[in-house]
Symmetry: C2
Subunit: 600 residues, 2 copies
Amino acid sequence: MEVFHLNILNIAAVLLAAYLGGLAIRKMGYPAILGELLIGIILGPGLLGVLEYSESIKVLAEIGIILLMVYIGMEIDFHDLKKASWPGLLAAIGGFFVPFALGYFTIVWYGGTRMSGLFVAIAIGVTSLATKSRILIDLKLLNTRIAYVLMAGALISDTLALVIFSGITNFAESSSIDSGALLLIGVKILAFFGITIGIGLLLLPRLGRYISQSGLKNSTAYFTMILIVTFGYCELAELAGMHSILGAFMAGLFLKDQLFPRKISKELNKAFYDVSIGFMAPIFFVSAGFFVDITVFQTDLWLLILITFLAIIGKILGTALFYLPSRNGWREGITIGTGMNGRGAVEIIIAEIGLTMGIIDQTIFSILVFMAIFTTLTVPVLLNWTSKWLRRRGELVYMDKRRGTLIVGVNPLSLLLAEKLATKIPVTLIDNNPERVQQARQSSLNAIQGNALNEDLLAELKPENIASFIGLTTNSQVNLLAAQLAHDSFLIPQVYVAIAQGESAVGSELLKKSNAAHLFAPAFNMVRWFQLIRDQQTQLTTVAVTNKTTGAAWCSKQAIDFQQSLPLLIEAEDQSLRPFHSDEQLETNERLWVLKKTGD
Amino acid sequence: MEVFHLNILNIAAVLLAAYLGGLAIRKMGYPAILGELLIGIILGPGLLGVLEYSESIKVLAEIGIILLMVYIGMEIDFHDLKKASWPGLLAAIGGFFVPFALGYFTIVWYGGTRMSGLFVAIAIGVTSLATKSRILIDLKLLNTRIAYVLMAGALISDTLALVIFSGITNFAESSSIDSGALLLIGVKILAFFGITIGIGLLLLPRLGRYISQSGLKNSTAYFTMILIVTFGYCELAELAGMHSILGAFMAGLFLKDQLFPRKISKELNKAFYDVSIGFMAPIFFVSAGFFVDITVFQTDLWLLILITFLAIIGKILGTALFYLPSRNGWREGITIGTGMNGRGAVEIIIAEIGLTMGIIDQTIFSILVFMAIFTTLTVPVLLNWTSKWLRRRGELVYMDKRRGTLIVGVNPLSLLLAEKLATKIPVTLIDNNPERVQQARQSSLNAIQGNALNEDLLAELKPENIASFIGLTTNSQVNLLAAQLAHDSFLIPQVYVAIAQGESAVGSELLKKSNAAHLFAPAFNMVRWFQLIRDQQTQLTTVAVTNKTTGAAWCSKQAIDFQQSLPLLIEAEDQSLRPFHSDEQLETNERLWVLKKTGD
């Protein structure tokens, strides 16, 4: 019964293809967008013809772009910028303008219009934001200076690209370029940014407060409001002669955390993510694949190779060159260049707009898509090489900021742990009980009286400086909930939870969700160990690790009986200490600090 | 720059109109859908022409219908059915088929085709599900037999309407109706239900388990999967010659709680709700308003009045008549009929499909929309009258099921409270500490050792039988979190939280979100009161309420000093007891049980 205009089967098929394509490529360690583009190319009308382009796909894809841009805007955290603003700016400018210039001149030299040259230039200059953190975690770079510069650089580079893009599309629309037209365009762009920033800074927070105070519990009304603001910003962008994606991006910048109560913001963010990344954006990327003509490999292979080559070389060398004034060394510049080499959502969106506007043709569009795929493929490989190279040379600089440890629960075990750790890093203990807090302070430890389940208290402890969180009260459930709070609300990267014997079944799902690790042992008799420590029936010994293994494998190989020995800490070759847990990777020559029950 | 096909301004305007229309009508106590329809009628192309119909509005509206039907299916809880299956079935059948028959014969007698008669008949027979609970809460009917019958009745009635609708649209498509065609249609319908139910019962749970086990943390992938299943089910419906909304409804029936980990299910439900109710469904309802021709008030006023009249009379009398065998009395039947008189989303969807298929014309469509608006407007008014009538006659039957009280924390105060309450209703105490649990049991109270923050433990306590939850440990944060769990995960209707002195700032946002009330006092010195009770320095006294007031107003008028007196319980005229809290409404002749410090 074909009443709807929707071709349901086609929408289902596009979504399924996007899902499977994304899943497959993610398993290989690449961002889903690559898989979505590739599956679109393969199954699309150009090649196998399983999927087709239709009005409904088009509408969903276009709204998908808008929602995706809002999400990209939402994700931009100005705090990230502050952490590495100067080197980040250098990297962004070099990494953007050098490939930009190379791309522009190549296209013009190749006989393209200046306008198509500018589009290609932006597409080559852009850096993808989306996939950074995953790769940084995999390569264990999260706490390095490189990570901060990469984040800030990608962010500035994307913003730069969008601003320049807004100017260019304005030119593309105006028929003649005289000084009057130029002035008008300038005024329109300024007015757009003035109005959107004004609304964002002045009006939206008031609206947010007003609605919060009106006691609206239902976050759905907020969701609708965010959509209305988004489409309103899009319309403002169009009125100013710019593309609506710029409005969506600006809307995203202001539609974030501070606007609404924290819980609602989190829910909204999740819903926005689900709708954009889980529904409409994949439809856009698959359908972008539909317009790729794979015959460019035959007809324009040299141009494809040239553009990809310039994109990679321009990005890496441009970044490294402009990065020199940061005095962080040219090797770090090269490393950052390899990390910024990926192209992602923004590039594909810009290329698709260029194609739709008729500024670039299908050949150039296809080349830009393949360039995005190839450059993104290089990132993990090249960044792995360059970061190992830095590490080997001892030039990998760690940032001091996030190094503290927060331990919840004061007891003999946590005191032992805290005393050991405090020799290397700042440690803070939290307990509800004033006497126990006093006890910790007597051991010259930094201790705070309060409830670890209280979000506001945690917020005061500068969680952005805390690298690991240890839940070590006798109440496993409290440990789990506090860990979840630390992980979900404050993004503390490493979370450890002690589980009391007999409660191991409790919350294993929660544990997985918070990305938390079982502290010391899967579940152990905490209270008994407290007693042993109090009675001085324990002894702290060290054991060298003889070969690379995991915590669990090591325990089972050494036949550790958690009644007799409790592995507490791992000491790395550089003498840094980290808590022991089952999933932890142990390297050769690291040493384990194991608490042993002494004979009585 | 009009590159997109989207008319962004129009989408923004439609959303804004839907939001404001829905908001305004909700303030008046009616469901948002009425406001959305009305604003669509007023601002649409027919009248003011501010909003326009476009391809993108159409696509969004059509996907909106699908997502809305999934949501309606998701919301159907087979447990609700069990509670009142027999009277619910009676009410549903009477309330559906009597107006169905009246509508059919009216249209045919009026010269309409039999097919249009069937469409009108279904539209008149349908009952709206969406707005029930709000009205039931407002009229304080939540725990009555009426509420259970209404829920079950609306549910069965909607399912019935959809199944009959699927048969009818199948007929509408086939050119000749001979026995062979009939057989084929029957086989197709059976095959559709067989396949969708089979997949839903056998395949989806396996898929859910498989994905859960694969350790997928990101609920977005689940969201995408649900969409794929949904569109797949829609396609199955179309293959079987039925409308895709039926597929979406069936998908919703199976895409629910048990399928995925509980937390993820909740997030998914929220995201689905946001996208359907917060984004696309309002676009559908506004655009449905576009097709309403208000000149029917001049041209076909009598038909409009007749259909609305038959809808109301048919629904109420039909329900009451068929409800007689339940032996619950004809007055209760009338009351249930008035409660089921609303028409909502499903009716508008069916009418819109009839219009799109050309089976009904714009006049009939407009009449059906106005009929939906008018009948829905009657519900709060009529149900208020009829339920008051029942209440006055003492015929309002309360269901026993949900009456237990769950108290977290065993301490002198909670023991005192529990002993009092236990004389009237089942009370269960929970505490982590085995000794305290033992203590409660010595007072012949029902007590359980365990952690109230453990979702699984709560799930075992049959939360569906619990009417109120009291968090009364010394840890205010635990009280709040447990209350939130009780409210959010187990929908326990009344939640009370004790807040210790000095922690009143903590979690007030959380408190509001959980719809919880401060137990006894805004914040009081719990430990001191424990001590006073232990030292037998307290005395329980009763005070009569002299005029209607709130808990807070009463306290301030009586100049209650929470150091000296602590209001614990309210005894209603029927001797039922409920915990005291600030926002509670006190009626004249109710009595307060106040704990007083005795002079020492």
